[in-house]
């Protein structure tokens, strides 16, 4: 019911919206909850377990009942709090967790079965018959559980992440927060003021308080205007600070476009902020707690503070005939506000025996509400007085059990709140979060004047450390009513009294948990699910633990609380991950030949962050194998070109460069001649192989190391560690030059012919023998040439500055084609190297040693190197280890599969008989059959033996002959020819 003349809404702007298919209208400034209440809608949701009819309980983000789904299709947003969602033209909201409709929900039958569905019932049943849990019980439970539904469609909305920095972050813009921001801003500090509401002011918007003689909201507007004018202050509304992390890092979620349903191009729906603040003031306010009594969950029963908020801020009376119940003076304020607005107050039920009386409304002192009735909305309450029980007709009960300071954020770094008996509430423990000072209601100081005072003091305390001095500020005049409360958690009596509304946890459940020895507060929570709903216990924790304390004969302080963990209010996954969806998950790295490869039809595959061509199909080729086989033959018979720029290239210079390399490689590099290249093996300190590659000596103090594509980053990190951490005395510098050079392998018997057309001087074996390197001019550009080979052919790698990479690739590819060759991709590269028994990270997968790959002798005995000592542990080089072998099919099946395991020919393929496994396989067009590399127990001693390859996954068994891993040209004549 809308009250004339009340509220901070713009009545000149009527806004239509839909709820459950029915059209309603509200005003600018309304939330969905206030607009529905104004339209007389009380039933807004169903509870989780019993599907009880529920109405709105609160007026904030802690709302446990009025959760709705907004929108449809890919933009469908489940579990939206009607109390937070602002209305806009075109808003469509639906109730959830009900079938077929909110009004008539078949699963409400659960409520009748409640005696059997108490705390932890599922741990005790559904065990018979054995197979029924997964087949019958669990599917039914799963379908019944859950609240709203995801659309199942890919996200289409834009989200954003951002950073902000400040001296002082003020969390909450009620009287304390505004005051803190104001004085800090005037002092010139760099301030961010964040508030989760759509409008600053906090409770000042919901109450009728005056500050300095002005209505609260007018004072708010004035302060806000002053803050807005300051360059050093940033105001963030609709921004909920969700988490507190180490060293002053705060996570906050800004709801950018939920309130207007607009999607301007590029605009985010939400922004996830990482705020780094030197200091913070927590002015998060307090949350009102309900009182547990029989059937206290009917639509129409809500917190007194919510009733006042709807009345004062939104001009809506939550009922026509209101009753008020509680244990603080707030109930009288509620009655006065209602009466002033012309709403009938049927009775004020004050649990305190010494409660103040009033001439304007009936006050029942020392009384308690002990029950309610009304099918889908409140119709009457039952009041218990010393004189007996009495029924009062009412359509709205405003209740309060007192206020809980919002201490949550002070607990995110493991702080535990402190129990204050006088206000029957937990308050922040000083110093719980370094640099954070709580102020106002979140600190247990509830009067407006106290909030204003503490806001100033907190800002002063926070900024004093930073050397910022506050200007003298007069504390504005405001009410300073003392807070007097008589503890009241649960009204005794039969029936079910709700603590956790959404999860349907009642006083009985908590008591039963205690009886079953779930007496630790954590046990009680986990056993009953109290506090595990979407409000994370904001409405129920303190009352539940008070009930538990009572049931176990302990004090509340001794009972303790469960842990408040981030986020304070739930945050969408899309917001936290903004920008990383789809291809944005990781950067894309493109080689200079990328476009040319795509233009030639090559499918591009991921290699770490890079993309590399898989193969280059020619007209008529319909499978990758055809292309791959052709490319292999091309390299073996003519010439192939392959972009190898993705391999890591590290420039190493300095007087101690040789000594440094000797220390990181197992073999010697200080003895390498200038103009020559050497293969090197690198170990981890634990003795296993880390990486391999070639290193060229370009000058006396100048080397160029190559790493595998996969390990480039790790090797760089490793070299920096070895230098900075272990050998800082060595005068050596390194720089990654991976990106500076575009490098291409030119491989095959005609490779020299191809290159001779590009270089100033023709190549000769005398000047350019195998493993030579040096500078060259490539079509007039300074480049580098290395006579190295991964394919086993006479081959080179040619490098030019990356700007020329695309151009050089085109020229090389065309010239290769003219010689009967062409570009080749990763598939052919892999076949070529398997034919030669060259290893990659398929073989050096982190569990293999130099001994395992047949390179034990490469660990020089003349010097120390990283990994040497540990590589000499007995277990790393002894009999029985699985070592590298070649495999050749010899039986009926000709198929080899990487990932298959090896067994002795006659053995059963069971784990205990396992002899090894296959790492790399290919069809060798050169040899005309499949070949494979693998690791076999004592493999090198078993050449010629037949073993059995078994792939149970793919149902393949193949007899293999164990052979040397070098299948092709074992003498290596071709690389030198």
């Amino acid at each position: 019911m809308r009250i004339k003349g009340k509220g901070l809404i713009d009545r000149s702007r009527s806004i239509p919206f839909m709820f459950d298919g029915v059209r309603y209208s509200g005003f600018e400034g309304d939330t969905l909850a206030s607009a529905l209440l104004a339209n007389g809608v009380r039933l807004m949701g169903r509870s989780f377990k019993y599907h009880r009819p529920r109405g709105v309980l609160t007026a904030g983000s802690e709302e446990p009942n009025a959760l709705v789904t907004v929108g449809s299709g890919a933009s469908q947003e489940p579990n939206v709090r009607a109390t937070v969602q602002e209305i806009y033209a075109g808003l469509e909201a639906c109730s959830q967790n009900r079938w077929p409709s909110l009004n008539f929900d078949l699963l409400a039958a659960n409520d009748l079965a409640a005696p059997f569905l108490g705390a932890g019932f599922y741990y005790k049943t559904f065990m018979w018959p054995k197979s029924f849990w997964e087949k019958v019980y669990e599917p039914i439970i799963r379908r019944a559980a859950g609240l709203g539904a995801l659309s199942g469609q890919d996200n289409v909305d834009k989200y954003e992440r951002a950073w902000a920095f400040c001296d002082l972050l003020v969390i909450g813009a009620g009287p304390a927060g505004l005051m803190a921001a104001l004085v800090a801003g005037r002092a010139g500090a760099d301030v961010i003021l964040a508030d989760e509401g759509s409008r600053m002011g906090g409770r000042l918007l919901a109450e009728t308080y005056e500050i300095d003689g002005k209505p609260g909201h007018v004072w708010v507007d004035e302060v806000q205007a002053e803050l807005e004018a300051m360059d050093n202050v940033r105001l963030m509304t609709r921004t909920s600070v969700a988490g507190v992390y180490d060293q002053g890092t705060y996570a906050a979620l800004e709801r950018v476009h939920h309130h207007d349903g607009r999607h301007p191009h590029g605009a985010p729906l939400e922004t996830f902020w990482r705020i780094v603040a030197k200091r913070s003031v927590l002015a998060a306010g307090a949350l009102e707690r309900p009182v547990a009594f029989r059937d206290n969950d009917r639509p129409g029963i809500m917190t007194a503070g919510a009733v006042r908020a709807y009345l004062n801020r939104w001009g809506v009376s939550a009922g026509k005939n209101v009753t008020v119940f509680g244990n603080t003076d707030d109930i009288h304020r509620t009655a006065r506000d209602l009466l002033a607005a012309g709403v009938h107050v049927a009775a004020v039920i004050d649990s305190r025996h010494d409660a103040p009386l009033s001439d304007d409304y009936p006050v029942l002192r020392g009384a308690q509400v002990c029950g309610s009735s009304g099918r889908k909305g409140l119709e009457a309450i039952t009041v218990r007085r010393p004189s007996g029980e009495e029924r009062i007709q009412t359509d709205c009960l405003a209740m309060t059990g007192g206020w809980n300071p919002s201490v949550h954020l002070t607990c995110h770094m493991n702080g535990r709140p402190t129990w204050r008996r006088d206000i029957a509430a937990f308050v922040p423990t000083p110093g719980a979060v370094p640099g954070m000072v709580p102020a106002g209601a979140c600190n247990g100081s509830f009067s407006t004047a106290a909030c204003l005072r503490e806001g100033i003091a907190a800002a002063g305390e926070a900024l004093a450390d930073l050397g910022v001095k506050l200007p003298e500020v007069a504390v504005p005049e405001a009410e300073d009513t003392p807070y007097e409360i008589a503890q009241l958690w649960a009204v005794p009596g039969k029936g079910r009294a709700w603590l956790d509304f959404q999860n349907d946890v009642t006083v009985k459940d908590v008591k039963q948990a205690a009886v079953e020895n779930f007496r630790s507060v954590e046990h009680m929570k986990r056993y009953t699910t109290q506090g595990m709903a979407t409000d994370q216990g904001k409405n129920s924790n303190v009352a539940a633990l008070a009930v538990l304390a009572d049931a176990t004969g302990r004090g509340i302080s001794e009972t303790g609380t469960t842990t408040f963990r981030p986020p304070y209010a739930p945050v969408s996954i899309a917001a936290i991950a903004a920008g990383a969806e789809g291809r944005g998950f990781r950067p894309q790295r493109f080689t200079t030949s990328h476009k040319a490869s795509v233009a030639r039809g090559a499918p591009m595959i991921e290699a770490g962050l890079w993309y590399r061509p898989s193969y280059f199909p020619k007209p008529g080729e319909t499978t990758w194998r055809q292309s791959c086989d052709r490319e292999v033959r091309m390299v073996r018979e003519a010439v192939g070109v392959c972009d190898v720029s993705t391999l890591g290239k590290i420039d190493i210079q300095g007087p101690d460069a040789g000594a440094f390399l000797d220390f990181v490689y197992t073999n010697m590099f200080s003895t390498l001649k200038v103009g020559r290249v050497r293969y090197g093996l690198m170990l981890r300190e634990d003795g296993y192989v880390m990486d391999d590659g070639t290193t060229a000596r370009l000058g006396q103090h100048h080397y160029l190391m190559t790493t595998t594509t996969a390990a480039a980053g790790d090797v760089m990190k490793h070299l920096e560690f070895v230098h900075q951490g272990l050998r800082p005395e060595l005068d050596v510098c390194f720089a990654s030059v991976t990106e500076q050079w575009a490098q291409f392998a030119v491989a095959g018997p005609k490779s020299r012919d191809l290159l001779n057309g590009l270089l100033e001087k023709p190549l000769s074996d005398e000047e350019w023998p195998f493993m030579a390197c040096g500078p060259v001019k490539v079509l007039g550009v300074e480049g580098r040439l290395f006579r190295i080979s991964f394919s086993g052919e006479h081959a080179y790698e040619i490098a030019v500055p990356a700007r020329y990479g695309a151009s050089l690739f085109d020229i090389l590819a065309e010239r290769a084609e003219a010689l009967g060759g062409g570009p080749y991709g990763m598939e052919a590269l892999n076949v070529l190297r398997i034919e030669k028994g060259h290893i990659t990270h398929a073989e050096i997968h982190g569990r293999t040693t130099a001994f395992d790959i047949g390179m034990g002798r490469m660990v020089s005995q003349k010097k120390d190197c990283i990994g040497k000592t540990m590589s000499e542990r007995p277990g790393l080089e002894e009999e029985g280890r699985e070592q590298l072998v070649g495999l050749k099919p010899v039986g009926e099946s000709k198929q080899l599969l990487a990932g298959a395991h090896l067994y002795n020919e006659g053995a059963e393929p069971t784990r205990v008989n396992d002899q090894g496994y296959v790492t790399s396989v290919c069809y060798s067009p050169t040899l005309g059959h499949m070949i494979g590399l693998g690791f076999l127990a004592d493999g090198p001693e078993r050449h010629g033996e037949t073993v059995k390859m078994v792939d149970g996954l793919r149902g393949v068994t193949t007899l293999c002959k164990v052979v040397d891993p070098v299948f092709f040209d074992p003498e290596g004549g071709r690389v030198r020819g």
């Binding site: 920095f165 950067p587 890079w610 210079q653 300095g654 510098c733 020229i811």
Partner: protein
């Protein structure tokens, strides 16, 4: 006779203007990584001053001016941008050509700090990050070098191979800022 044709890292991607912010590719000229030998930082600085008119930069600082700059580039390293390095530098430092290793862009305009605040975990607001300041940090998932080169202008460098991702990320952030109005 074939001829090698040079291509810029951001070819076909830039320039780009969204709202009040403009993103363009910069052609920095020669880029040289300088890493002083042990104890040679002062000598290198002197040589750099003599040859190119700028000192070896202190951490988080850039020296020189547009077209001829030395940008601190991390632990024991600076990037000389613009001139070809004088031969004297090699006496005091390793000198490595990096002219082709980095994509270099220039981003400028009202709100440019807001754009970068969506990607970079460092406070780049004018009061904290002035002209001549530089950082090595992240730009979303990439390592980057970021230098303030004007009141509303930054130079940003990432690995050449990541040029496309750089433009994509900056464009997304620019759209987000522009949409805020």
């Amino acid at each position: 006779m074939d001829k090698l044709i040079a291509k810029n890292p951001c070819e076909g991607l830039l320039p780009l203007t969204i709202g009040s912010v403009t993103l363009t590719e910069e052609e920095p000229g020669v880029m040289t990584a300088l890493a002083p030998y042990k104890g040679k930082e002062k000598d290198l600085s002197a040589a750099l001053k003599a040859a190119h008119g700028m000192a070896y930069p202190a951490p988080n600082r850039a020296t020189g001016k547009a077209g001829s700059r030395a940008v601190w580039f991390g632990h024991g390293q600076a990037m000389l941008m613009g001139p070809a390095p004088d031969a004297s530098l090699a006496e005091h430092a390793t000198v490595v050509d990096q002219s082709d290793a980095w994509a270099v862009v220039w981003i400028e305009g009202e709100g440019v700090e807001d754009v970068l605040a969506r990607l970079v975990p460092v406070d780049l607001r004018p009061a904290h990050f002035k002209r001549g300041h530089t950082v090595r940090s992240l730009l979303f998932h990439m390592t980057a070098s970021i230098t303030r080169v004007g009141d509303r202008a930054f130079q940003i460098m990432v690995f050449r191979s990541m040029a496309e991702t750089l433009v994509h990320d900056l464009k997304t952030a620019m759209e987000g800022v522009a949409a805020r109005g």
